[in-house]
Amino acid sequence: MSEHHDEKPHLPPPSLWPIGFAIGIACVLVGLVVSWPVTAIGALIALVFGFLWIRDVTRDMSAPAPTVEPVRRELADSPGVAAGEVVAAQEEPETYPRSVFLELSTLGLGAAIGGLVTLPVLGFAVLPAFTNQDIPEADLGPMDQYPQGQFVIATYLEDPKLGEVSRRTVFVRNNGFLGESPSFTILYSRCVHLGCPVQPNGPPVGEPSKYKTVELTPVQPASFGCPCHGGQYDTEGRRIAGPPVRSMDRLEFSIKNGNLWVGDPFSVGTVEGDGKNAVMTKYGHATPGVHVDGISAWLYPIEVPR
């Protein structure tokens, strides 16, 4: 090292690697409390940056120091100097001054702190709408409340914990038995145009009854219609007029202890056949106004998690 002519003791060049190393260690410590994957990522960061740091520090030992010609630069004090000469005189080997380091580390630190604050908040603002969206099954009462071939308007609480804001309406028709198992057509009342409440086109044909929080009204509609923009559906939920883009959504059902339970809603495209013989393709429950089949469905390639 006797070739060095400066009087300062040997110091490694300034380096950003220790910061990454420190972030890695911090990740490891946080991860030990929070989760193992974070620990693993932290360890990886610490390893990589530690290696780079050590390589940087020991560079002088592994390779002979390059000899650098001292730069002589004319003071460009006269404004008449041509631009080309000024540029030539300003050419100097790349340095890494303290001010640049401080500037970059301030910016980097600010970005890191900003990100640490913003990301969880952003996640909290957006993610709850897409997670834990499971709908509990709802009990719609004994099967004998649903006479065969008759529509019944059933309004029930989708999630009793949420109260009236989760009240939903379905049109239930008992189709009798398909072989051994009972068959029901359960149309979801929300219009598949823009979500308005579809109404049966026909008056009630009997007295309303109640089962717990479920309200049941028998009705014999010729069709169903939406009051908002005039969408019309037949008794199988097929669009017969107006702006809806698919057939009415339906709900899964099951029979438990003689009671009718409804589950998740699903969307259907076209419906072939009537009643218990209806054949349709089931799609995930789509937003109203969204095509589920045909070429227009290509506009909505990603299904929303629900």
Binding site: A82, V126, E164, G195, C228, T287, L299, V304, R306
Partner: protein, 261 residues
């Protein structure tokens, strides 16, 4: 007329605190810069539409803050709290009415203001950026209308918002995600109202205030335009454009020539 000693004394008393403030903050100069500026001699009443929109926004902000003291953003009690504001709370009918009708006034005034700017050609160089900010303000104003419409939580509010959200939901690709984000789930639920309330009274008003500040700053910096029928040439004289392009603030020298000035 020479000032009397008494008058001079009063002036000193009045101006002293202002001088004190000015010396320490420069605020007095700032307010002078904001208020006492040159405008073309032939401006007319059409050019007060911007101030009118601002006033309408301030009315919305102030009445909104007071309404927030009595309103409850909860699905079970929101409607009752609005009924209470309207029927029971003293002067509640008036403040709610100001907020409700003022919302339409705000939007209408913004459109009139926009029409004035368009017809006067006041969106042209160098005021393009201010037009863009104005359009953003219009969009945010409409977002205020959309989010505020749900808050009474009656049947009209509920179903209009269902339709509004589902309209957004029909946008290709990300529309369904936007709809689900807005209603906080597959349906309007327990969180939707509070979410709309927060957007309505915190997020969007904050953005509007920030953009209005920018909007006014640009108005003051660039000045008011004369009407298109004005005899006086608008604006200051421009420097002749040098060959190779106009010198910019960021790009000091014109392109092409090597002169270092």
């Amino acid at each position: 007329m020479a000032k009397s000693a008494r008058r001079a004394q009063i002036e000193t008393v009045v101006l002293y605190p202002l001088d004190w403030l000015e010396e320490r903050s420069g605020l007095v100069g700032g307010i002078k810069y904001f208020l006492f500026r040159k405008v073309p001699h032939d401006t007319n009443w059409m050019q007060t539409l911007g101030s009118a929109s601002l006033t309408a926004f301030l009315v919305q902000a102030i009445t909104g803050v007071v309404l927030a003291m009595y309103y409850r953003p909860d699905p079970a009690t929101a409607y009752d709290s609005v009924v209470r504001i309207t029927n029971d709370v003293t002067l509640g009918w008036l403040v709610r009415g100001m907020h409700k009708w003022g919302a339409s006034v705000f939007i209408i005034l913004m459109f009139f203001h926009m029409a004035r700017v368009f017809l006067f050609g006041a969106y042209k160089y160098p005021r393009e950026l201010n037009w863009i900010i104005g359009v953003l303000l219009l969009v945010l104003g409409m977002l205020e209308g959309f989010t505020g419409y749900l808050l009474p939580f009656d049947q009209t509010a509920y179903w209009a918002t269902v339709v509004g959200i589902n309209l957004n939901g029909t946008a290709p690709f990300l529309g369904p995600f936007l709809a689900q984000f807005l209603q906080g789930g597959a349906n309007i639920g327990e969180d939707t109202l509070a979410k709309f309330y927060a957007i309505h009274m915190l997020l969007v008003p904050g953005a509007i205030i920030g953009l209005i500040t920018l909007h006014l700053y640009l108005v003051i910096r660039l000045g008011v335009t004369s009407p298109p029928w004005s005899d006086t040439a608008a604006g200051r004289d421009r420097e002749p454009v040098e060959p190779g392009g106009r010198a910019g603030l960021v790009r000091p020298a014109a392109r092409g020539n090597g002169e270092a000035n």
